[in-house]
């Protein structure tokens, strides 16, 4: 192994650590903000670290079969792999967190991200808890809903930049000195609306409804399994945010910009969720196939005919 | 004894007259003698076909009177092929009906006499070169057909026979009138001579005669709307008779039609007429077939439909088309023979011979069902069975003449055909077996007959070359009018004769 390999492996690890840290911290911040909005003090910002660490330290005495092991493993594999293929920073010259950026593209990423959900769904299915199955059913159905405007937005971007890779889109933004959210605002709006669903915050949190479904797919996952799912969820949150920042907001040249941009973006679903009630599954599917899709279509047409 | 085409007519006719006597010697002779006769005819066919293939048309002059004054038989590759085919089919039918009315010898005797007459008549129609003899043979055929239709002497059979008789007498009358008119115009009864003199006949007269012929022979050839008798006759006649109708009688009728149009007359419109009427016949018959409840009626309508295709193909009139048409005639004889034979065993004991009672017979009568399925696959023209080739040839011919709509029509109707045949096949094998029905055990002769036909279907399907050379020659012979006239009348003036297509 030469030095470059070691550096790149270090880069992997640094990326994962960064994603984990940012993702978990955001989770804590969300709890804090939620608490403040509800006129509470709220847990400390680092609360989620405690939670995850505690969960890792718990024993995991039971399993319902090997798919329950594999489910969280799939989830974490999917999240980390997706992370590997996303440019975290677009520093000048040196890509600090480049990893495998040039080896994959958006469509690949779309599928890779689904891999996690499917893995988790399978793990949840193995446990045999009916609540898990209901949750999975709802979650997958909802996914079909929000993927449509999301893909429409991506198609608009790809058509405009004539590139399907994230780095390509970022290069386009750098070259034109603008952000895609200004270049094709309709696509951005569609993507943003889809993002509400992607994060599973209210009003699209019917999948994990804790009171009705006893937290849905995760209901039989305790201890380490839950910890892995939370880890994967945190990394995924970061992945999605970083992806959004990369393709819509011109990427981030340093960590601070990254944190600022992702945080601002993250506040959209969070704040929207806090003040929202809950949609039923078919309502949310219809919602996604309504205005967001229309806006997405308009976005594509805008790119095709105006740009 | 020198083998000559006369044997085709003389031997079976003689046998028919001698059989009552022979039956007095031994009962079994009534069954064996027809077989021997047909075997002999088969031998004759082999010898003559070889001759014909090698040396061309044989013209047999009866009693030394040369044409155009005498009666002659023309054994061309075309007529020879048809005669041989009929002989072969007659042999198969004989095998099939060998044990017919096993217990009672008197009906069997009657049956075999009539059968011999029928063979004589149909082969005579094909072979004769004389228009009046043509009529005579037609009458022999018709009368024996009426009798055979009513063979069971039950109410339905009698009704069917009466219908047949009614329509058939129309046919006879028209044809007779036509022959008379023709004779007044051309002054001869020899077909070749008529053909030579035909262009002198005034047009309106020619057309009138043609129309009379067309209607009269159209009845025998089951052309719509003249074919009302056919379904009843097919379904009410004893099962071997149904086969005989499909394999011999109809073929003879079509032959007559073709001979009239191709050789005797030189009217262009007749070809288009053939196409149009063939198409209508095809459509009407197949559409009627799909709604039939009785298996035999279904087969009858299907048979009519096939004849429609044959007429279309002849109507196209190119060498390829005629080739396809003759091929289809052959296939139809073989396949429809198999279908009738196996089908009548299937419905032997079902009420009204209805299809709906056939569920699950595939288990009870595996061999018969297999034969029927094979026949069904073949008749709708699925490769690699015999029916496919003839269909392909006809379609190619039609395509070469830019008749795409016609092809579409034939193919569209084929889909209908597939529906009703596969309905039966599906029901045979995969319906829920009904209880209590008694299976009719097929006779050995019947099994051998059906096996022979099945083997022919497979062999022709996999290797059509066994039959195509004969058919090619037949097609050439039919189309080459001048050659026909020349072989009958070596001194005739051929300047006015042109091959129409």
């Amino acid at each position: 192994m030469d030095t470059n390999s070691w550096i790149s492996i270090l880069g992997f690890i640094a990326t994962v650590v960064l994603a984990f840290t940012v993702g978990v911290s955001y989770g804590g911040i969300v709890r804090k903000i939620t608490a403040r909005i509800q006129n509470r003090v709220g847990p400390p910002v680092y609360q989620n670290f405690f939670d995850i660490f505690k969960l890792y330290s718990k024993s995991t005495a039971v399993n319902h079969g090997w798919m329950q092991h594999l489910g969280p493993a799939f989830a974490i594999t999917a999240s980390v792999t997706s992370l590997m293929f996303i440019p975290v920073l677009n520093g000048q010259g040196e890509f600090w967190f480049a990893n495998l950026n040039f080896k994959g593209d958006l469509i690949f990423l779309l599928y890779m991200m689904v891999f996690g959900s499917l893995g988790m769904a399978l793990g949840a299915g193995q446990t045999g808890n009916p609540n898990s199955a209901i949750g999975v059913s709802r979650g997958l159905s909802q996914m079909v809903g929000y993927e449509i405007p999301w893909v429409l937005a991506l198609v608009a971007l790809m058509l405009q930049t004539k590139s399907t890779s994230i780095t390509g889109i970022m290069d386009y933004q750098i070259a034109h000195g603008t952000w895609m959210m200004f270049e094709s605002p309709l696509a951005f709006i569609a993507a943003l609306m889809a993002m509400l669903g992607m994060f599973h915050y209210a009003p699209f949190d019917v999948t994990f409804a804790p009171a009705e479904l006893s937290s849905g797919p995760a209901s039989e996952f305790g201890g380490k399994y839950l910890a892995m799912m939370m880890t994967s969820g945190s990394i995924f949150a970061f992945v999605k945010l970083a992806l959004f920042v990369d393709i819509f907001m011109g990427g981030a040249s340093n960590l601070i910009m990254l944190v600022v941009k992702t945080f601002l973006l993250y506040m959209v679903p969070v704040l929207y969720g806090i003040v929202s009630p809950r949609y039923r599954t078919e309502q949310s599917i219809r919602y996604f196939w309504g205005w967001p899709t229309l806006i997405g279509v308009l976005g594509v047409l805008y790119v095709v005919f105006v740009r | 004894m020198v083998i000559s085409p006369v044997h085709y007519i003389a031997v079976p006719l003689l046998a028919a007259f001698l059989m009552p006597l022979l039956a007095k010697i031994h009962r079994e002779l009534t069954r064996i003698v027809p077989g021997l006769v047909i075997l002999y005819l088969g031998y004759v066919s082999v010898v003559l076909m070889n001759q014909v293939m090698a040396h061309g048309t044989i013209v047999e002059v009866i009693a030394g009177w040369n044409a155009p004054w005498g009666i002659n038989l023309v054994y061309s590759p075309f007529t020879g092929f048809l005669a041989s085919m009929m002989t072969a089919m007659a042999f198969v039918i004989w095998l099939y009906s060998y044990r017919f009315k096993k217990v009672d010898s008197q009906p069997a005797l009657k049956y075999f006499i009539l059968f011999m007459m029928l063979v004589t008549g149909t082969i005579g129609i094909v072979l004769t070169g004389d228009i009046f003899n043509f009529f005579v043979f037609l009458e022999i055929t018709a009368i024996s057909s009426y009798s055979l239709t009513a063979f069971y002497r039950d109410r339905d059979g009698a009704e069917a026979a009466f219908k047949y008789l009614l329509i058939g007498s129309f046919a006879s009358a028209f044809i007779l009138i036509a022959i008379l008119l023709l004779y007044t115009q051309v002054g001869t009864l020899n077909m070749a001579q008529i053909a030579v003199r035909m262009h002198d006949v005034p047009t309106h007269m020619k057309i009138t005669i043609l129309i009379l012929f067309l209607v009269g022979l159209g009845i025998e050839a089951e052309m719509f709307p003249l074919n009302g008798w056919a379904p009843d006759a097919y379904s009410q006649a004893p099962s071997p008779v149904g086969v005989t109708f499909a394999a011999l009688v109809v073929k003879a009728g079509v032959y007559g039609l073709i001979r009239i149009i191709f050789t005797l007359f030189d009217v262009h419109g007749a070809y288009e007429y053939l196409i149009v009427m063939g198409a209508i016949t095809l459509v009407m018959a197949e559409l009627a077939a799909i709604r039939q409840k009785s298996l035999k009626r279904m087969l009858a309508y299907s048979s009519i439909g096939q004849m429609g295709v044959v007429m279309i193909a002849f109507g196209i009139g190119t060498n390829e088309a005629v080739f396809g048409a003759i091929f289809l005639m052959f296939n139809h004889a073989v396949i429809k023979g198999l279908l009738f034979m196996s089908g009548s065993y299937l419905v032997y004991n079902t009420p009204n011979k209805e299809i709906q009672y056939l569920s699950g017979y595939g288990m009870k009568m595996p061999l018969i069902s297999l034969f029927f399925s094979l026949g069904a696959l073949a008749i709708v023209g699925l490769p690699p069975f015999a029916g496919f080739w003839s269909k392909l040839y006809i379609l190619i011919a039609a395509a070469d003449n830019q008749m795409i709509g016609l092809i579409a029509l034939i193919l569209g109707v084929s889909i209908v055909e597939i529906v009703y045949y596969f309905r039966v096949v599906g029901r045979l094998y995969f319906g829920k077996p009904s209880k209590g029905s008694i299976m009719q055990k097929p006779t050995y002769g019947g099994v051998i007959a059906m096996s022979l036909l099945a083997i022919v279907i497979l062999v022709v399907g996999f290797y059509p070359d066994v039959i195509t050379p004969y058919i090619h020659n037949a097609a050439d012979a039919l189309l080459d009018k001048a050659q026909y006239i020349h072989s009958v009348l070596p001194n005739a003036d051929l300047s006015q004769i042109q091959n129409l297509k």
Binding site: P44, K54, S215, S219, L226 | -
Partner: protein, 181 residues
């Protein structure tokens, strides 16, 4: 095994610190005490400050909060839920009913002392204990955890026969499969 702070390994100290600050509660609303949970969790008292958080299923939870009296019928379910929880796990007995039966002290089908059936780490006295008391109870539990003394689950495992005997004494038809923790 002595469980004072000095004998803890450094790993345990870290783990216990994390556990202390992150208590996932399975609030088993058996009795009237359940009505005190919402005020405890919501804005007035806000137990989430201490890392206390409600969880939906026993698999995910650390703390079993038994809120009030337990009929024998309910006890069976509580035991099942308790045994489905993953180690380390703690039990908080909530209200007088879990201590001495409370106002149901002479009921023919209400147990009076929860500790005999499942190991209770902390009792919260009162009928009802107010949210302040609940929070105090949790803080007490946190202290115990930090000191490594909240070893109810260990005790339960060690004295399982005794617990089982007690449980089977009131639950006659013991048709539960063997669970694990």
């Amino acid at each position: 095994m002595p469980n004072d702070k000095n004998s803890q390994k450094i790993v345990d100290i870290i783990k216990n610190a994390a556990r202390k600050h992150s208590l996932f509660v399975l609030a088993y609303g058996t009795g009237c005490g359940a009505i005190e949970i919402p005020p405890t969790m919501t804005s007035r008292y806000d137990a989430e400050r201490f890392g206390i958080r409600g969880m939906a299923t026993p698999r995910q939870a650390d703390v079993l909060l038994v809120t009030g009296y337990l009929a024998t019928k309910t006890l069976k379910r509580v035991i099942r839920a308790y045994e489905q929880m993953q180690d380390p796990k703690y039990v908080i007995g909530f209200g007088s009913c879990t201590i001495n039966g409370g106002m149901y002290w002479d009921s023919y089908n209400t147990i009076k002392l929860l500790d005999k059936y499942i190991p209770v780490d902390v009792y919260i006295n009162g009928c009802m204990p107010r949210p302040e008391a609940v929070i105090t109870g949790f803080i007490e539990l946190q202290k115990l955890i930090a000191e490594g003394k909240a070893d109810g689950a260990t005790k339960y495992k060690e004295n399982l026969d005794w617990y089982r005997a007690n449980q089977k004494k009131v639950i006659k038809n013991w048709n539960m499969p063997d669970y694990n923790w």
